[in-house]
């Protein structure tokens, strides 16, 4: 099975886990699947459930598919201002 490597950068409440995390998932994984993997790797951190994954330009939807290596960010609920 072909795999892709993801680099996930952390912000806000995820900073307690460090700067980020890298892991491999099967090519063609959906964002929903990647969030499930992240939930498991972060020991069931429920903040993942209220968070979104984004690339440098936009927020990705749960049914978006990744076919190549990517640098993403996990964005927890926002509270700017």
């Amino acid at each position: 099975m072909n795999e892709i490597t993801l680099n996930i950068k952390f912000f806000g409440g995820f900073r307690k886990f460090g700067e980020g995390l890298s892991f491999a998932v099967p090519t063609g994984s959906t964002i929903a699947t990647i969030k499930a993997v992240l939930l498991e790797k972060l020991n069931g951190e429920t903040l993942v459930l209220d968070s979104v994954l984004a690339n440098d330009n936009e927020i990705l939807r749960d049914d978006d598919i990744l076919n190549s290596d990517a640098s993403l960010s996990i964005l927890p609920p926002v509270c700017g201002g």
Binding site: G12, P76, V78
Partner: protein, 149 residues
């Protein structure tokens, strides 16, 4: 033609006069300025300061998008928006929004729209530091909701 929108994320001290000067216009009879500052109390806890965190690229995109939306709804406005990123003490300025328009209603309404949308949509987070030595990332608005609208 000069720019009518300035939207930025900065780690420099926010300059109120700079925001005012950007939106000042001889054809505009109103300037509304919103300044967000760090307060010393949150839900009964004494706050010493706040650390702001932001996804720089996305935050700038969202700031610009929100300003464009405001300018579309309240046409002819000039808008200056700058949000701080980093550590601030009590009283520090976290955000400034200045809007000018020919008449006051558009300035007030556009300014209110921009700050409310930033709170819901901009990828910015804050960690409060308390007198008892604890620090806490504040809860906020899930971008799941914003993304599904």
């Amino acid at each position: 033609m000069s720019a009518t929108i300035h939207a930025s994320l900065t780690s420099d001290k926010i300059n109120i006069q700079g925001a005012y000067d950007f939106v000042a216009d001889d054809a505009h009879g109103a300037i509304d300025v919103f300044v967000g500052t760090v307060r010393n109390l949150h839900e009964g806890q004494n706050v010493l300061g706040i650390t702001y965190d932001a996804h720089e690229g996305l935050a700038k995109n969202v700031f610009t998008q929100i300003c464009l939306e405001a300018q579309s709804r309240w046409q002819g406005t000039k808008i200056y928006l700058s949000h701080y990123n980093g550590e601030l003490d009590i009283g520090g300025i976290s955000i400034i929004i200045a809007v000018s328009s020919a008449h006051r209603a558009n300035s007030f309404e556009a300014c209110r729209y921009i700050i409310e949308e930033i709170k819901k949509r901009a990828p910015v987070w804050k960690q409060e530091h308390y007198e008892n030595g604890r620090s806490e990332w504040l809860p906020g608005h899930s971008l799941n909701e914003a993304n599904s609208e």
